[in-house]
Amino acid sequence: MSLIEEIDFGTPRSKSETMVTLTIDGKEISVPEGTSIMRAAMEAGHQIPKLCATDMVDAFGSCRLCLVEIEGRAGTPASCTTPAMNGLVVHTQTERLKKLRKGVMELYISDHPLDCLTCGANGDCELQDMAGAVGLRDVRYGYEGENHVFAKSNGDVNPAWLPKDESNPYFTYDPSKCIVCSRCVRACEEVQGTFALTISGRGFESRVSPGMSESFLGSECVSCGACVQACPTATLTEKSVIEIGQPEHSVVTTCAYCGVGCAFKAEMRGEEVVRMVPWKDGKANRGHSCVKGRFAWGYTNHKERILKPMIRERIEDPWREVSWDEAFSFAAARMRGIQTKYGRDAIGGITSSRCTNEETYLVQKLIRAGFGNNNVDTCARVCHSPTGYGLATTFGTSAGTQDFDSVEDTDVVVVIGANPASAHPVFASRLKKRLRQGAKLIVIDPRRTEMVESPHVKALHLPLMPGTNVAVMTALAHVIITEGLVNEAFVRERCDWSEFEEWAAFVAQPKNSPEATAILTGVDPNVLREAARTYATGGNGAIYYGLGVTEHSQGSTTVIAIANLAMATGNIGRPGVGVNPLRGQNNVQGSCDMGSFPHELPGYRHISGDAVRDQFEAMWNVRLNPEPGLRIPNMFDAAVEGTFMGIYVQGEDILQSDPNTSHVVAALSAMECVIVHDLFLNETANYAHVFLPGSSFLEKDGTFTNAERRIQRVRKVMTPKNGLADWEVTIGLAKAMGFEMNYKHPSEIMDEIAALTPTFAGVSYARLDELGSVQWPCNEKAPEGTPVMHIDGFVRGKGKFVVTEYVATDERTGPRYPLLLTTGRILSQYNVGAQTRRTDNVVWHAEDRLEIHPHDAEQRGVRDGDWVRLKSRAGETTLRAEITDRVAPGVVYTTFHHPDTQANVITTEYSDWATNCPEYKVTAVQVSPSNGPSDWQKAYDAQARHSRRIAPAEAAE
């Protein structure tokens, strides 16, 4: 194995379909019109020396190293900024060019330290490479003159010298090594879209400046790493490279954080990760990354990681480290004991959307075939289950309709209840790039999110009151119907016309107009009308939505309303349009595909279907139960009632992530066997009897399926630190329970999935290795996968319009709880924070804060940074306030990344009518000044400390 070298073509690929032919160094080459001469030469196999050009950003033409000569043209033009044209005859190496390039390099090196042997970039430095390429042997100017290199010059302080900026936890900025090629500045602008960097000064004073000459950490920098990747020298370098040295081999794998599913090269030295570098051929991320995937992988060897199985009789006891066998037989005996005592349906499990498809599949197989019931659910229950219901009802299948590339063809982007800049940052960068090219943006969100405030992006913002999504969606439809903006040809051809007419009559009712609903929604009717017209008539309209849509008592209704809008305007079935749920976790799509829901087998087929069950029964050699099992919230209710007494939880922290923590605590405490399978003693483990240590994504093979249905390989780069990959743990537990599953490698599990699931029939590891990735569905009809769905018609046949009546949630504000709390995420932390809190990402977000409008804060005597008590009907907690007008008066907002805040102590048990997805996004609360932690927090902390004790091992004889 060796390092995967990616070719840098110098300038981006041209999308033109017209070809031009030219001659470079005597070779004839045809390239798409708009391709630079530099890129054309590289495609012909000739590398023109360069420093300021890289193919992730547009050509800039500043380094003067890539000069060429063109027959019939005067001078020596830069090849990066000169387009290829028919009939050009180009020479990349002539006596004149050699001399010029040597002169340019001599000047660069005269202001650069010569510490190559001890430099962090040694072996990976383009400046070093170019000095070699041009044959630089001598620098005639010496190093005594004015420079940026030495702290002292001729005995005096050198004002041009700047010290290293080490403020960012993951990379350093060493100004003395900077050649001011501005690749970092352009990467920040063009790739990331943050505009945190600039070049300050001019001429010899020019230098890279984060913000207004601030530190990297103090600036707007979001630490995505694009600048570090772009830097040709050691100026911006990963601290891990400085500490360890250059990697020697690399493996392509998939990030285990959010639903974007970025492809990375894990660059290794032996079994040690040196750095994670986004892979340019990754079709989800196209070579970009965010602070989590790029840098926040240190949790995989954090000291708190548990590597040995542990058991205990009662949760009050300290943990006891045992062998795998002892842990499996202890767990199996308890689970089987519960079934004997309380019945076969008294146990169940939760699959993890962080684990691979193969692992998820095995857990649901263990439950259905081994436990003998269908009590299996997954964390998609609490995030995107309404997407499953809503899109299956209207379109016929539960999945986003587009690939991420589709955004490049979009003219109007509608973002509803999602904040991609924080939660799906790499997709957000691609979206912002398109917006800067002129696409229009409509944001429907109670908060003025980072998307609304992005630089060089103008958003039409509809700041609705939390809980009124359906009213806003129906009002948008009202405008489209009553103003005659329907795409009638599309609807007549693709949808059920009589259902459409029924729906159109409903939305056209005056009670659904923007003016009539404004009193509920708080949205200016004129702005809403403008948004509807823009979406319906502005060209390709694409809707992207998140948990702000689904996590409501009318979550499924809102998804249906979104699908109605897309169908009515004909925005389905081609690139640039569609309905796109932004999935939270890396493998939410996959865990749903794999049959994690209690009512359906892999491939979204209901468990009551005899034909489907027959197929699985034949392959698994068992009888399957035809009745649906319990969903997560039902499991908790049944536990409190005493009919659900044992649970196997793989890779999910239900105690921290599920609503109404006190109810979850009551449920877990009532159970007689809680098995937690995780990397860390998470909050749920405080109530567990068995702890099975998990393995990280670096330690196992498998596949993840991202938000655009893309199935990508996860590749093992090191031995599992806990000894077993997660799929092997599930097999071990199953065996102890008397249910044998025999697989030697996860690829065999995928083969079984493909054999049983028609939409996965074409998926195999060989296929994935060959194509890099495939988008589900992948079968004989679509052997290379399906980038865009519903192209010639909907999966269900005719698209189905469904009436969406607004029903207010029962969670109401009143005199005691006058404010509405809504929750969300922040860029640097991920979900419950189990991973990111164990990395240096805490420098950006060390605690959850409560965002409150200045008006509400003043009324309550709350100042910025004060401790406040946040109280709902469900519970209370304390945290510090952040005063901001990002939220409207009457609305407060917080994140749920930290267990000591426990935002879910506050959230209630109200849930989506169709799927029981909890209503995280609307809770009536009161805020008041406070002195410190609530009684709940103190008691919780004491219990957690007590519960995490591990008994010291007995001395060996």
Partner: protein
């Protein structure tokens, strides 16, 4: 399982189907409960119906009655 919670859930399903009119609502509600409720939940709501079905909206009550008619739930193993 606590009938109060199940009554609430059933009525919530009913509210979505209400706007589709009685004729579509009753089978819609029944099908939804058939597809997504586990046997112990179904048994509990059927038992509640037998006990008078207090608190259930008319369409929901009718849907549960029709579902009960059509369902042969296995006795708990």
């Amino acid at each position: 399982m606590s009938p109060d919670r199940l009554i609430y859930m059933a009525n919530q399903i009913g509210k979505f189907f209400q706007s589709q009119g009685h004729d579509k609502a009753v089978p819609g509600i029944a099908e939804h409960i058939r597809k997504f409720w586990d046997p112990r939940m179904k048994r509990a709501i059927f038992a509640h119906l037998d006990a008078g079905g207090a608190g259930l909206e008319p369409d929901v009550r009718q849907a549960i009655a029709s579902l009960k008619e059509a369902t042969a739930l296995p006795t708990p193993p």
